[in-house]
């Protein structure tokens, strides 16, 4: 393998890892605050994808505004209607509730938009690519990497510099104590859901720009990858989730490149096997998070 091919591989891996990081952050953000795994994140991505594909005739900027508004509103509604009533009932109840919400919304999507694949163009320019020295980078990949960097930096600054960010970190540390010192639970949780909605909207934009199609189960793949990345990173840590996402993204690209042709259809099975191997060695994840230890 030449240096040029290696550089190309690294560029591809970086783009996929960045995309996965956006997936994983949406799940990890809710988990750190609420200790809840949100299956229904996938439907936020799906709704966003339907907005982008079905409103293809509307100017892109307007579409993005509609996208953000609708997805964030759905995230807030979901929290209020389904998750708040079971918030006190423990992690498992919340997990299964989100599974139920996800399934209901998937089937509502079939009812409203039909069972067939819908297609449309989101932003054709993104499909072209630019030659950077030996490496060919599709604009979409460049945008993915830039957006991920911006979102990571923005999220980091938000959590450290703003009051609500500080409250979120306090809630992630110990929700009961945080409430005792005046953190308002409903507000913090709503902000976390709004932010995960924005991340889901970003994910649906980047995905539909690439594929140009949407089905009712469009977002499922997103949350599956996000779950695996979040566990791998060590649950309860945003940094861990990003590291986990990078691991999964890089392993996927490398396997795609080096697996023998006849084994390539099994790529995802190998990816998940690799994840299991890592978990055998480090059961708490790559970066053992705060939420992972049992406190007595």
């Amino acid at each position: 393998m030449t240096g040029e091919q290696l550089a190309q591989l690294a560029a591809d891996a970086l783009a996929l890892a960045s995309l996965y990081a956006i997936f994983a952050l949406g799940i990890a953000l809710i988990f750190t605050v609420l200790k809840m795994i949100n299956f229904a994140h996938s439907e936020l991505v799906t709704i966003g994808a339907y907005v982008l594909i079905l409103l293809a005739d509307i100017p892109l900027l307007v579409r993005i505004v509609v996208l953000l508004a609708l997805v964030v509103a759905t995230a807030l509604l979901m929290e209020r209607a389904a998750f708040r009533p079971v918030r006190r009932s423990g992690q498992l109840t919340m997990l299964i509730t989100s599974f139920g919400v996800s399934y209901v919304l998937q089937n509502v999507a079939i009812l409203v938009f039909g069972p067939n694949v819908r297609s449309g163009t989101v932003w054709p320019v993104l499909r072209e690519s630019v030659q950077l020295g030996p490496v060919r980078v599709p604009y979409l990949n460049a945008l993915t990497i830039v957006l991920t960097l911006l979102l990571l930096a923005g999220l980091g600054l938000f959590l450290r510099l703003t009051s609500i960010g500080l409250q979120m970190r306090a809630a992630a540390e110990d929700f009961t104590t945080a409430r005792l010192v005046g953190v308002r639970a409903n507000r913090v949780i709503a902000v976390a859901f709004a932010m995960s909605g924005a991340l889901a909207a970003t994910a649906s934009f980047l995905l539909t720009a690439q594929t140009g199609v949407v089905t009712s189960t469009f977002g499922v793949q997103v949350v599956l990858i996000a779950f695996v990345a979040t566990i791998l990173g060590g649950m309860g840590s945003l940094t861990g989730a990003v590291i986990g996402a990078f691991f999964v993204g890089i392993v996927t690209v490398v396997l795609q490149q080096f697996l023998p042709l006849e084994l390539r259809p099994f790529r995802d099975a190998f990816v998940y096997a690799a994840v299991f191997v890592v978990l055998v060695v480090r059961p708490g994840g790559l970066l053992v998070g705060r939420g992972s230890a049992v406190r007595v």
């Binding site: 498992l92 139920g100 399934y103 209901v104 069972p115 779950f227 099994f266 998940y272 299991f276 978990l279």
Partner: protein, 387 residues
């Protein structure tokens, strides 16, 4: 009606009552429905019996350890595909699978051994999986089972030489009759009860109630949960084998997210911590979905005509799940087995009391009990003692 108390008789009844009552209920219900059923309803009943075995299989892990599993449809797929490949006659296999290894083409087993081999292969897969899972924290372990589901789905969908890929397998000899399935359900209910009330079963359930305390009294949590996973995969794999025999054809999509959702809903709606919940959940959701399927096709109720609503069944199932979780997190059974003590209590109050109002059950302060922090369900106190 007040019954005279006889401690010895009560103990015997307490031990054997739950499986006996569940078996009698299921058998009576199935025979009753089959007596009046047309062929489509008969098919529904048979599918419900297979679902019930699979739900009991999932219960044996999820219900007893408190770890949710999204991967059990993977075990079911292993059982189903193994059984299918073992029972399709070699002559048919030569036509259907052109690339299958020769030894696999020649193997041909009768119905029952094939189903058992399918269950065993699923159990072996679970054994391998239990090693990493034993070391993981509960929630991570539950999510990691999703990886199993996907891995099995990818393999089954792409390993064309053996599974025929996305085209699936057809022409599987159908060997299941209502009697075979009823016997299977009865055997599984009794076996599950013996397992959960054994010393090992009590240790496994102790890890659900309080993992830290269980560790403190010397229970090897990871190992015991691993055993539960293997037993549970065996039962789920057998359910898969029966499914293959019932349907006569298989495709990878039958063992993925929709199936996972359905079986988990059955378990949770019934009550995921009890065998009674697993059995009744399968019955309740099958009935609910039958009604919704009827409405879905568009019916006229008096002057009102419902439009055709595709997906209504699935939406209704999901809403039922969400509502049960919000109002009754431990399911319809409320975390209690159908026990002799409960029946006697209800009788002695002239049937005026429902289990939900029972002061002995649930939490002391009347709040619903949280999942994963189950406060000693009534049923556990009526179990035989370990000593």
């Amino acid at each position: 009606m007040t019954m005279a108390r006889d401690p010895a008789r009560d103990r015997l009844l307490e031990r054997g009552f739950t499986p006996l009552a569940l078996c009698v209920l299921v058998v009576a219900l199935v025979l009753g429905v089959l007596a009046v059923a047309d062929s489509s309803l008969e098919r529904l009943v048979l599918i419900a019996l297979v679902d019930m075995i699979a739900v009991i299989g999932i219960y044996l892990f999820t219900g007893m350890t408190g770890t949710f599993s999204f991967g059990h449809l993977g075990f079911m797929a292993i059982g189903a595909y193994s059984t299918a490949i073992l029972t399709v006659p070699p002559a048919t296999k030569r036509v259907l699978f052109t690339a299958m290894p020769g030894w696999l083409v020649e193997i041909h087993l009768p119905f029952l051994p094939a189903v058992l081999v399918g269950g065993l292969l699923a159990a072996i897969a679970a054994l391998l999986l239990s090693v990493p899972m034993a070391r993981m924290q509960q929630l991570s372990a539950g999510l990691a089972t999703l990886a199993v589901l996907i891995a099995v789905y990818v393999v089954v969908g792409n390993w064309s030489a053996v599974t025929n890929g996305t085209k699936g397998i057809t022409a599987i000899p159908t060997g299941t009759t209502p009697i075979v399935l009823l016997v299977a359900v009865v055997v599984v209910i009794v076996a599950a009860w013996l397992f959960q009330t054994s010393a090992l079963g009590l240790r496994i359930r102790a890890t659900r109630e309080d993992e830290v305390a269980a560790r403190a009294v010397g229970i090897r949590v990871g190992r015991e949960r691993g055993i539960a996973l293997v037993v549970s995969a065996l039962v789920t794999g057998v359910a898969g084998g029966l499914y293959a025999q019932l349907q006569g054809s298989l495709s990878p999509g039958a063992f993925y997210l929709a199936g996972t959702f359905l079986l988990i809903s059955m378990l949770v709606v019934g009550g995921f911590t009890t065998l009674t919940g697993a059995v009744l959940g399968a019955v309740a959701l099958t009935a609910l979905r039958r009604i919704l399927e009827f409405v879905e096709t568009g019916v006229a109720i008096g002057p009102l005509t419902m439009p055709h609503l595709p997906g209504l069944t699935e939406i209704g199932t999901g809403i039922a799940l969400i509502v049960v979780l919000a109002l009754r997190p431990l399911g319809l059974t409320g975390g209690r087995e159908l026990s002799w003590a409960a029946v006697r209590r209800v009788w002695s109050r002239d049937g005026s009391s429902t289990p939900a109002e029972d002061p002995d059950g649930g939490t002391t302060d009347g709040r619903p009990v949280a999942m994963g922090r189950v406060d000693s369900p009534r049923a556990d106190r009526s179990l035989p003692r370990v000593d």
